[in-house]
Symmetry: C2
Subunit: 319 residues, 2 copies
């Protein structure tokens, strides 16, 4: 195509071309229309670049969350790795069941069991030490069903959407219930999202000197839980302005979509619906992951888009 | 100057030219050398743009903090403005003393009195309502001694430093003990620092629906205190990587400078020393504001720069 044609080309067509793994349909049309309208100079829906903020959930929205959240695999692997230093775990729940590979028994203790497992694997070290552990783990950890690296189990259509939004002046943030410091070591490489644009759950840290060297020590105490109504709270804390686009896949993202799409001006809210048992998973209620009930029931009344993985995605994974 | 000369020009000279309100001297030389070395391709000290992060304290570093922190003036004005809705304040400390204009008596209650005053003026409304209050106040509030707007009582040499760092690929963050939502409404306009790059103290917020409209309600409960050892904690929480440059003016910034300058590679830490009683204020110990004892004593041993306002700044305020 000649340059003169390029520059005069329909902007919507250029956006659509960037979303080549999306089948033509209502979801793709809505995305293209939204991006075109907020970026077109002189459009009544024009949004200046500083306000072009999009927030993405991570688990189930950018990468696979079945049969377990990736961070849960991390916890289980770390319990095994740390077990030799904790002989008492062989006799203590929930650790004993984890070490026997009996996850349902380990989780029988409910939320307090999860907190114990998380704190045993995420606290008691410096931020730099934890970063190294996370970096080493993510470099080799593989999905139990496909054998691919977790960082390859990301959704190609969503990667294209990230690229397309960035090309149109958007700043992309992650707003996840996952651990902020678990995600930061790899979001830049995998999604092109720099670590300062990651919002997530966190534990408290404490500044102290160790052998005269300052460190931040990770404490076994919750600082912030970035799920459900916590998502708008985290978004305000980190960004300080209301995004204009929100992408999720479960009721854990409901309040985020509600917050984002209730602002003034043109907004978009989108759920990925996992309805593709052949190429990925089909579920509205994961065994461990969040439900997608209210969001599915209310999306159309609220003008939110529900993406059918099966129908709307030409391709699910890269490569 | 011809273009060919411009492009071949000594980069250090270009940086120095941008700092025209800085007198020639050790402080300016150190700044120019640091910026030049970390930005020069092929330099052993080269830092890629994503890692070029500079953090600035606000009160006393970017704008005047005497005779009171600006946010303290805000609190006092808000107490007066809200008093008609709180007749009980006439009889209740610390409010009664504030309304009588007797600040020392109001502060006699120590930290708990300050917390009461802050919560009475910062909590109990939505984030949007608070933003509007802050925007309206900062638009007209004036410094009691000079009659200038507080936003004009910013340091011209520091504004030039912000511009110079940005021109050299740095991302600038504020790391202040002041309220994050008190600063955000005006940092973009006054400093060119967007609201997502502001770190500060905060109170908790709660997501809820009011008449079907989602809001974030500000609760009278501390969420985060961004002073002293809290500064590195807030920096890690928001940025997730260690900055390479830190600028402060009191012992409240000590840990921030320590954290930043103890990282690997070339680093810079700088204190503004308020030693200019003629053009600004001369103090190491403010009546209400923080002390500058340890920082002043240890700066030279730690390789930190102490800027003498009197000697190093050709000009203090813009205009």
């Amino acid at each position: 195509m000649e340059e003169s044609n390029m520059t005069q080309r329909d902007p919507a067509a250029a956006v659509a071309d960037g979303l080549s793994s999306w089948n033509d349909g209502a979801a793709k049309r809505a995305l293209v229309e939204f991006i075109t309208r907020v970026t077109e100079q002189g459009s009544p829906d024009f949004v200046p670049p500083l306000e072009r903020i999009a927030v993405f959930d991570n688990d189930g929205t950018l990468w696979v969350e079945q049969p377990l959240y990736v961070q849960a695999f991390f916890v289980l692997d770390r319990i095994s790795a740390l077990a030799p230093q904790h002989p008492e775990w062989r006799e203590t729940e929930p650790f004993a069941s984890v070490l026997k590979g009996d996850l349902p028994a380990a989780l029988a203790g409910g939320e307090s069991a999860i907190v114990e497992l998380v704190m045993a694997t995420h606290a008691g070290m410096t931020t730099e030490e934890f970063e190294q552990v996370a970096v080493d783990w993510i470099a080799t950890a593989r999905h139990p069903l496909t054998g691919r690296l977790h960082t390859e189990m990301v959704y190609q259509p969503m990667l294209e959407l990230l690229t397309c939004l960035r090309a149109n002046g958007f700043t992309i943030w992650i707003a996840s219930a996952g651990g902020i410091e678990f995600m930061r070591p790899w979001t830049e490489r995998v999604y092109g999202i720099p670590r300062e644009n990651v919002i997530g759950s966190s534990i408290k840290t404490k500044y102290e000197l160790r052998d005269g060297r300052p460190v931040l020590v990770r404490l076994p105490e919750l600082n912030f839980l970035g799920d459900k109504a916590g998502k708008p709270v985290g978004i305000q804390q980190h960004i300080g302005r209301r995004p204009i686009a929100a992408f999720g896949n479960s009721d854990g993202d409901f309040e985020m979509l509600e917050w984002v799409t209730s602002g003034a001006g043109l907004r978009i809210g989108l759920f990925v619906h996992h309805d593709d048992a052949v190429r990925e998973f089909a579920y509205e209620r994961g065994a461990v992951t969040g439900h997608f009930d209210r969001g599915l029931a209310e999306a159309s009344g609220r003008g939110w888009i529900v993406v059918s993985m099966k129908r709307d995605w030409r391709k699910v994974f890269p490569g």
